[in-house]
């Protein structure tokens, strides 16, 4: 499982190119990484200061956040800390126009969020916004400079970016776009050292194109509809690539051991399904899985401080296993009768449709006597195959939400589920084909194969349940 979580971490990193780290901090768990994004508007300069603290500095900061000392940081405590930090930062942010200091002030409430890091520790991200008035720029321009004098020389990435909005920046010493997308992605390059930029200088001239919605206010990804932000910020091609990868990972996930694959194939053979039912079942499992991921993701986001998804996994695993075992036991009972009837009397199995009625009245709509899965059986199958969210899908969703691209996260999870459904579909149809081919060849195989399949489901279900029970 540990390995699988690690694997899922890698997949999530691939999936969400924009993600903040879900595993180890890419720059090492000592680092305090800082980005300053400056936007020069007519008459105003706006500055977004972002801090991304890795595990150890976050741990060290905890006594200052958890002010009542009860061992956990509440939303209120975190908000208070964020305001305090913003107030501490303010005097150290030196913006000057032609040498004259600009009086900056805090704008809005700073945002602070915990992000799960390595070793069960948290990392912490703070985003604070400041603005200050600037005088009308004379002809020939004015020199605007920024110097980070917050006096924090801890290890870490340090960048400054600056862009004009209705103003033109000439001969800037820094890029106009954050090289790390506001400390969301750190280039993984063994041949470069993290930047250590703490100041900038630029000549500002009046006039120039207005910034588009996304960057107009702060230079980071504020404003615009969520979907615009999700789809606009990274470029369409990468979105598509991400979605395709997500679907591929979903398809792959369905093939991993202990998941939908075996159940699907078994249930289709054991349940005597036809093509259409295979489609319905695959869609049901995928839909269940999507819902499960979204619910768990929502729980993680809303209950960030108190809720740890890993504690829920064994329970979900147990539910999944029990549901599978339930489906299996139903099918075994049906098939056992069919087989005994089939081999004993050499009659057509469909005869039992009638004389089995009394024995299975209670489960009639779940499992019609010809062994097909009814609505309740389908629900049980969906529960068995889909209730346990793939960690990779969950991580992708959380990472996207954390990168303030929730729409992209939803799209990724949807793509993941489509891949999952397709994979299950292929497995299911394959299984049905094999079964039919066997049935054509020998009548006893037509009876035995479904029974074996049903027994296999019971075993898989039992195994899943036992495994989950041990980790609860």
């Amino acid at each position: 499982m540990k390995r699988f979580v690690a694997l899922a971490g890698v997949i999530a990193a691939v999936l969400v190119a924009t993600a903040a780290p879900a595993g180890a901090h890419p720059l090492g768990n000592f680092t305090v990484n800082r980005a300053t994004a400056i936007v020069v508007h007519p008459g105003e300069v706006a500055l977004t200061y972002t801090i991304d603290m890795a595990e150890i500095p976050t741990f060290q900061e905890m006594p200052r956040i958890d002010t009542d000392g009860d061992g956990s940081a509440t939303v209120d405590e975190l908000a208070a800390w964020a305001s305090l930090r913003a107030a501490e930062l303010l005097p150290g942010l030196a913006v000057r126009v032609d040498g004259e200091p600009v009086a900056l002030g805090s704008v809005g409430a700073p945002i602070a969020v915990f992000v799960p890091g390595e070793g069960g520790l948290q990392t912490l991200r703070l985003e604070a916004r400041f603005t200050g008035p600037i005088a009308a720029v004379p002809d020939g321009g004015a020199t605007l400079s920024f110097n980070d004098e917050t006096g924090d020389d801890r290890l870490g990435w340090r960048e400054v970016s600056a862009v004009g909005d209705g103003m033109t920046l000439v001969s800037s010493t820094v890029p106009s776009i954050s090289p790390s997308d506001g400390l969301r992605t750190y280039p993984d390059d063994a041949l470069s050292s993290p930047p250590a930029v703490t100041s900038m200088q630029v000549v500002v001239e009046t006039g120039g194109p207005a910034l588009g919605g996304a960057d107009a206010t702060t230079g980071s990804s504020q404003g615009g509809s969520p979907i615009d932000r999700a789809l606009g910020a990274r470029g369409g091609l990468w979105i598509v690539v991400g979605l395709v990868i997500a679907a591929a990972v979903g398809a792959w996930h369905a093939l991993l051991p202990g998941h939908g694959k075996t159940l699907m194939a078994g249930a289709m053979v054991g349940g005597g399904a036809r093509g259409k039912q295979v489609v319905v079942a695959a869609v049901a499992v995928a839909a269940m899985h999507t819902g499960s991921v979204l619910l768990l993701g929502l729980a993680v986001v809303v209950l960030a401080e108190t809720f740890r998804p890993e504690t829920l996994y064994p329970w979900l695993g147990a539910v999944s296993g029990l549901a599978a075992a339930g489906v299996g036991i139903y099918l075994v009972r049906i098939r056992w009768r069919a087989w005994r009837g089939g081999s004993g009397h050499r009659t057509h199995p469909h005869e039992h449709e009638h004389d089995d009625d009394h024995a299975h009245a209670h489960s009639h709509d779940a499992l019609p006597v010809d062994g097909r899965l009814g609505a309740r059986g389908l629900a049980a199958l969906a529960l068995a195959g889909g209730v346990l969210p793939a960690p990779s899908a969950l991580l992708a969703l959380l990472a996207a939400v954390n990168a303030q691209r929730p729409a992209y996260g939803l799209a990724l999870v949807a793509a993941f589920s489509v891949g999952l459904a397709l994979s299950l579909l292929v497995v299911g149809i394959g299984a049905v084909r094999v079964r039919d081919a066997l049935a054509r060849r020998s009548a006893s195989a037509a009876l035995v194969a479904p029974l074996v399949s049903a027994a296999a489901i019971v075993m898989v279900g039992a195994a899943l349940t036992v495994r989950a029970a041990f980790s609860i």
Binding site: V10, A24, H25, P26, F30, T31, I56, F59, L191
Partner: protein, 444 residues
């Protein structure tokens, strides 16, 4: 029926092979980036690339440029990897280790045979992660290719030293001095002499190292080590001078600041020591500094603050272990001092199974005493002192073990020697040593 079974078996086998193959492929990237961390190997002067007048930053920048512009240059890639390891030892930035590993492996891919530079870098990397067997293996590979490189003998000697093979280690250091006298070689010789209890020669060796230092980092390193030698032999004022000198060469480097904080404590200014260590752990939250701050807070009566630091140290240790760094030696001493004798003993035993160095023997002896086995502890304590090392902490441990065994004469001798060597050897145990010694003195 048979066909069904055969088909099923073939299917299952095929599926499992596919899965194993697939997982194997995926497992590559997920296991690749272990991060490293704390470094107790004090022998390495961090300046293997001792290019005169150029700081390590500049060396790294030019090597990065070189590798980028000439991707096939496996020698530059190997040098860059080694430089990253050196940089990590100075800055304690563990994220440099995966980078080092990446470029070193790339160098090996480019030139799989006889790539002494990459072997050397991988040896240094393994040592930084406290995997000394691996360090020795790569060191030997490098030695076979390039026996006339001084640095190779230095790295081999470091590994041998940590593995407790002292005579072989000292011989390697001697070869290094013969081939390539310089800061790195002198610093290692100095450490070898200190281990054998010859502080005067050790100081002379480190003075020589300081004399040939070609970079600010090198000069800071040598001055700091001189400060440590002075401190460990109880000379507080001399240590203070050296620490200040080191801080002057490299103000951003944390160890001299920690040294100055210790000096403040020795002079009786507990608050200044706490403030100093707070600054140190902000910049460089290594377990050793964090534990020191915890101990100082304990002295100041701030048990809540102290517990926070100890919790941080434990979290650090967990992270380091997750990152593939073996911290059993440090953990054993920490747990024996701060709480969990069973964990201390398990960690010390595990490390002793790996290597028989005097430091591990000392930790195992101390852990055995904490676990209530003074007689067995005494055996390891004797081993710890077998090189003649004048380490106040070793002596104190021996003394307390003898107290527990009831050998008053030996206990007195060890505790007196500990306090004579360095009365400031421990924030917490100096007073315990003095108190115990007073109780042991014959009633007059």
């Amino acid at each position: 029926m048979k066909t069904v079974f055969r088909a099923a078996i073939v299917l299952v086998l095929g599926a499992s092979l596919f899965l194993v193959g697939g997982l194997g492929l995926w497992d590559g990237p997920s296991s690749a980036p272990p991060t490293g961390g704390a470094d107790v190997v004090v022998t390495d002067p961090s300046v293997v690339l001792n290019a005169p007048g150029r700081s390590l930053d500049a060396v790294i920048a030019s090597l990065q440029e070189r590798v980028r512009s000439t991707p096939g240059d496996w020698e530059a890639a190997a040098s860059l990897g080694l430089a990253y390891v050196q940089q990590a030892r100075i800055t304690n930035d563990p994220s440099l280790y995966p980078k080092a590993e990446t470029v070193l492996q790339a160098s090996l891919v480019e030139r799989p045979e006889s790539n002494a530079g990459a072997y050397l870098g991988l040896a240094a990397l393994a040592a930084a992660r406290h995997d000394f067997d691996e360090a020795l293996r790569f060191g030997r590979l490098a030695e076979r290719v390039n026996p006339y490189d001084g640095t190779v003998h230095g790295v081999v000697g470091d590994a041998l030293l940590e593995l407790g093979r002292y005579q072989a280690a000292f011989a390697s250091f001697q070869r290094m001095v013969d081939i390539e006298p310089g800061l790195s070689a002198y610093a290692r010789v100095s450490y070898a002499r200190e281990l054998q209890g010859d502080i005067a020669s050790a100081t002379a060796g480190m003075e020589a190292a300081r004399g040939v230092a070609g970079t600010p980092e090198g000069a800071a390193f040598a001055a700091y080590q001189l400060g440590e030698l002075a401190w460990r032999s109880g000379r507080v004022e001399m240590a203070a001078r050296y620490y200040r000198e080191a801080a002057g060469h490299d103000p951003a480097w944390a160890p001299p600041q920690a040294g100055l904080a210790r000096v403040a404590w020795a002079r009786g200014d507990l608050q200044a020591a706490i403030d100093g260590y707070r600054d140190v752990v902000t910049v460089s939250p290594l377990p050793e500094h964090v534990i020191a701050l915890g101990d100082l807070l304990t002295l100041a009566g701030d048990s809540i603050g102290a517990e926070q630091q100890y919790a941080l140290a434990r979290a650090q240790a967990d992270l380091l272990r997750t990152g593939g760094v073996n911290v059993d030696l440090e953990l054993a001493l920490f747990e024996a001092d701060h709480g969990d004798p069973a964990r201390a003993l398990a960690a010390a035993r595990a490390e002793w199974d790996r290597r028989h160095s005097v430091h591990v023997a000392d930790a195992l002896g101390w852990a055995l005493l904490a676990a209530g086995e003074p007689d067995r502890a005494a055996r390891y304590a004797r081993f710890a002192l077998s090189l003649g090392t004048r380490d106040a902490s070793f002596l104190y441990h021996s003394g307390m073990i003898e107290v527990a065994r009831g050998d008053v004469v030996a206990a007195r001798r060890f505790l007196r020697a500990a306090l004579a060597t360095n009365p400031n050897f421990s924030f917490l145990y100096g007073d315990v040593a003095r108190e115990t010694l007073r109780e042991l003195e014959p009633v007059r």
